[in-house]
């Protein structure tokens, strides 16, 4: 399993308000979600969510706590946050928390696999609601940064063209547009430390030396790459064992696990696997891949083309 396929055990955290708080969040991605948040003083103009409905434009600004879902594909505009109408392939959750001591807002987009990939923007005449030109497709790579760059280009083109901003029906000139307002990057906080186990990304071919015995600390897993396959080396005394890095349960990184009583413990769900056989003592159906290890002097050679217990 590639490193990209292993989900992180790091949690995401974003504080969006407290008494006296005033902060503007970054548009950030975590897992299947994009999130943004803001806290502001109560006397600041509220952010106003407008959404197209079958009856016209609805103003969803509230003076009480609210949680609203903007369905994927619905044109919506949050005045004060982004100066255009957005149509996203993701469901969005808009949370308003207007308190007497601060106002907080949260935008949470996503939930489904592969959403937050397709966005279009447009503008409507603020006087009569007529759409100004065609939908603009934002070409981006699925990351917030790329999305923001794409919106900037579309906005610049709109602002530079007074004809595009003029309503063909009533002739009113639309004000200049503005991009998604983002602030300083909020620090991400790791809820779970990775354990501090050194990972040596050494590469070798199967049957060739990949490390020396002295490179490995006793009972401390080291991940190497052999023929493109991630292999965990564990030294117990002068014996070295080699296992596949992907836990057979859910693909957790065994190389980040601890070694106890002749077994390696997966850091995700605590399944244990015998270092010599790969077998789980608690679940007979689970067995980690093991590979033959040869010591040539103090050089460690792993034969990783076929697992011993395949």
């Amino acid at each position: 399993m590639s490193a990209e396929a292993i989900p992180s055990t790091e949690c995401f955290s974003l504080r969006v308000g407290g008494a006296g708080d005033e902060k503007l969040g970054e548009l950030q991605a975590f897992g299947r979600y994009w999130v943004w948040g803001q806290a502001s003083m109560p006397d600041t103009a509220p952010l106003r969510l407008y959404e197209w409905t079958e009856q016209g434009i609805a103003d969803l600004t509230t003076e009480h706590y609210s949680l609203h879902r903007v369905k994927a594909g619905t044109p919506h505009h949050i005045d004060g946050l982004f100066g255009f109408w957005l149509i996203s392939d993701a469901d969005e959750q808009w949370v308003q928390v207007p308190r007497s001591d601060y106002h907080s807002y949260l935008l949470i987009a996503g939930g489904a696999t592969d959403s937050n990939r397709v966005h279009h923007i447009t503008w409507y005449c603020q006087d009569c609601g007529t759409q100004l030109g065609e939908l603009r497709h934002l070409t981006h790579d699925g990351t917030p940064d790329s999305f923001l760059r794409a919106q900037d280009e579309a906005i610049q083109a709109f602002n530079a063209d007074p004809a595009a901003r003029t309503c063909p029906r009533c002739g009113v000139l639309h004000p200049a547009a503005y991009g998604f307002r983002v602030g300083r990057q909020e620090p991400r906080r790791a809820a779970v430390e990775p354990g501090g186990i050194p990972i040596a990304r050494r590469k070798a071919r199967s049957g060739e030396p990949v490390a020396r015995l002295g490179d490995l600390r006793v009972d401390s897993p080291t991940v190497v790459e052999i023929d493109g396959r991630e292999v965990v080396l564990v030294r117990t005394g002068d014996v070295v064992r080699a296992l596949g890095n992907a836990c057979p349960h859910k693909g957790g990184p065994l190389g980040l696990g601890e070694v106890r009583l002749g077994a390696i413990v997966c850091p995700w769900h605590r399944f244990r696997f015998d270092l010599s056989t790969g077998q789980s003592p608690t679940n007979p159906s689970l067995c980690a891949e093991t590979f033959r290890v040869e010591l040539q002097g103090d050089e460690i050679v792993v034969h990783a083309s076929v697992p011993i217990n395949a």
Binding site: V35, Y50, L60, Y65, H68, Q93, I108, G111, G195, W268
Partner: protein, 220 residues
């Protein structure tokens, strides 16, 4: 802005369930409900933020000493407790075992990311909200209920439900089956590694606790 084209009718007439924190629909979300791409769970925040009458050591001390409803996470470094902070959005990545003390008596492992935010009440007298949002499981994605030894974190028992294939409607029945199966045999709770007998499990819904499960709810 848009004054000429704004919908004049009350929002309730234009959009059904436009606000999921409305009192009249809040009860639907006490046991979670699918909404589009996600599943929402909303609870009135039951964690008191103000000291009860007679508590003489001040609000700050009370906040330190009040009952803990923190969430435990089982990661590479072992068990860590995270106390939720008002207006903090947390996202738990899919696959990470987590357990909320005194709220559900198992380690929940879902394949979907899970968001939570605790909102304080509008005033000291009014309860706030605990909002949970989980991605809707798709085919092949599961929910699992697991129990780990509270002393050495060894996996003791696990029950799996194919949520993506079988549907979220069967989630609570499967949860009850998992808890009952774990509690049925004391050997399930006996750690093969260190010999510790672990407390029983219990479900999310406290109204159906057996006396033994109620006791376990108070323990962990």
């Amino acid at each position: 802005m848009y004054a000429n084209v704004l919908v004049k009718e009350p929002l309730e007439k234009v959009m059904e369930d436009w606000d999921f924190l409305q009192e009249k629909i809040l009860s639907h979300f006490a046991t979670f409900k699918p909404v589009g791409e996600n599943i929402y769970g909303v609870r009135r925040n039951r964690v008191p933020t103000q000291p009860p009458a007679g508590f003489s050591q001040g609000p700050a001390t009370y906040l330190e000493k009040r009952p803990s409803y923190g969430t435990q996470i089982l990661g590479p470094s072992g068990i860590e407790v995270r106390q939720s902070v008002d207006m903090e959005l947390s996202i738990m990545p899919g696959g990470l075992p987590h357990h909320t003390l005194h709220s559900f008596g198992y380690w929940h492992i879902n394949d979907m990311d899970e968001l939570s935010i605790r909102m304080p009440g509008p005033s000291a007298e009014e309860p706030g909200f605990l909002l949970l949002i989980m991605g809707m499981p798709r085919e092949g994605e599961t929910d699992r209920w697991a129990w780990y030894c509270e002393r050495c974190s060894t996996l003791l028992f696990e029950h799996q439900y194919q949520t993506g294939t079988l549907g979220f409607n069967g989630f609570w029945k499967a949860e009850r089956e998992a808890v009952t199966a774990y509690n049925r045999d004391p050997n399930s709770r006996l750690c093969p590694e260190c010999g510790h007998l672990n407390p029983r499990g219990y479900c999310w819904n406290p109204t159906k606790d057996t006396p033994e499960e109620k006791e376990a709810r108070g323990l962990w």
